[in-house]
């Protein structure tokens, strides 16, 4: 029960941060990408601040043996920059610029975003499962395992 409540609390803080920064608004996200027009530094400022907070604490925390409420740190162990990463990031970017929406901002803005936010959520999930399906087809009809124990590279990323 405790891990659940603590995770919920971190999620509330995470969502509140996105709301505070104004990142639930597609115009703000597109403003970051609008380098030839009315460029808006909001996303860049928020991202740099978040990274500046995350980095030192991350290295301090992961020097411990284990997290407070779990057995181990689930860190992505791949450092390969492959076609899969390149194609994925490019596809993500194309969708990002098109609508100014991404998963975190979508969830934090879901309550006020109406049908368009729900439509995006549904299509984001559909796209994810399409990817899993394509993987399953490629690897000889054996479903691509997504569990941490058997994944060739940790998928705990996001």
């Amino acid at each position: 029960m405790k891990p659940l409540v603590v995770a919920l609390g971190w999620g509330v803080l995470f969502g509140a941060g996105l709301v505070t920064a104004g990142l639930i608004h597609p115009q703000v996200i597109q403003g970051y990408l609008d380098v030839t027009g009315a460029w808006d530094p909001t996303l860049l400022i928020a991202l740099c601040t978040a990274v500046a907070v995350y980095a030192p604490l991350f290295f301090l925390i992961t020097r411990r043996q284990r997290p407070v409420l779990a057995a181990c740190f689930a860190l992505p162990n791949s450092s390969r920059i492959d076609l899969r990463l390149i194609a994925g990031a490019a596809t993500f970017g194309a969708g990002w610029g098109l609508a100014g929406m991404c998963p975190g901002a979508n969830l934090a803005g879901l309550a006020g975003g109406g049908q368009i936010s729900l439509l995006f959520l549904g299509c984001w999930l559909a796209g994810t499962f399409l990817g899993k399906l394509l993987d399953a087809v490629q690897t000889n009809q054996s479903p691509a395992s997504d569990s941490e124990a058997s994944a060739p590279q940790s998928r705990a990323f996001g």
Binding site: L8, T20, A21, P26, A50, I61, A90, F92, G93
Partner: protein
Amino acid sequence: MSMAMMSWLPPILGGAMVGVAAVGLMATHGLIAGVSGLMRTALTPGNSHRASRGAFLVGAVLAGAAYLVVSPNEATPTSNATPIWVVVAGLMIGLGSYYANGCTSGHGVCGLGRFSPRSMVAVGLFSVVGAISLLVSRALLGGAL
């Protein structure tokens, strides 16, 4: 305080909150606070802490809902994109974050925050392609998007 400083304050405060929340999830659960990854793994049988992953995501939604209640006069998110383009964008975001193994939060906040080379490539690439996508979609579709 100058106008410029006032407009910097919300993203600095909000970004710090996001950073604390993300590193907090690492400290307590040992998990990367990437929204696309947490969503996928929460919905996939066999992963650890599925309920906690889901709880984090629910928390983010609740924060937005609470904000609506507290400040009902604030503007709610509205997209310039028509539903058909939201569908296209959503599918690309889902597929892209699946293959790239991360989105703005996972590669952006957590990945850059632990100096991951893969995340540096991903963030640079999706920012550049995002800028081009915005430019091209505006040029081709104008106000019709």
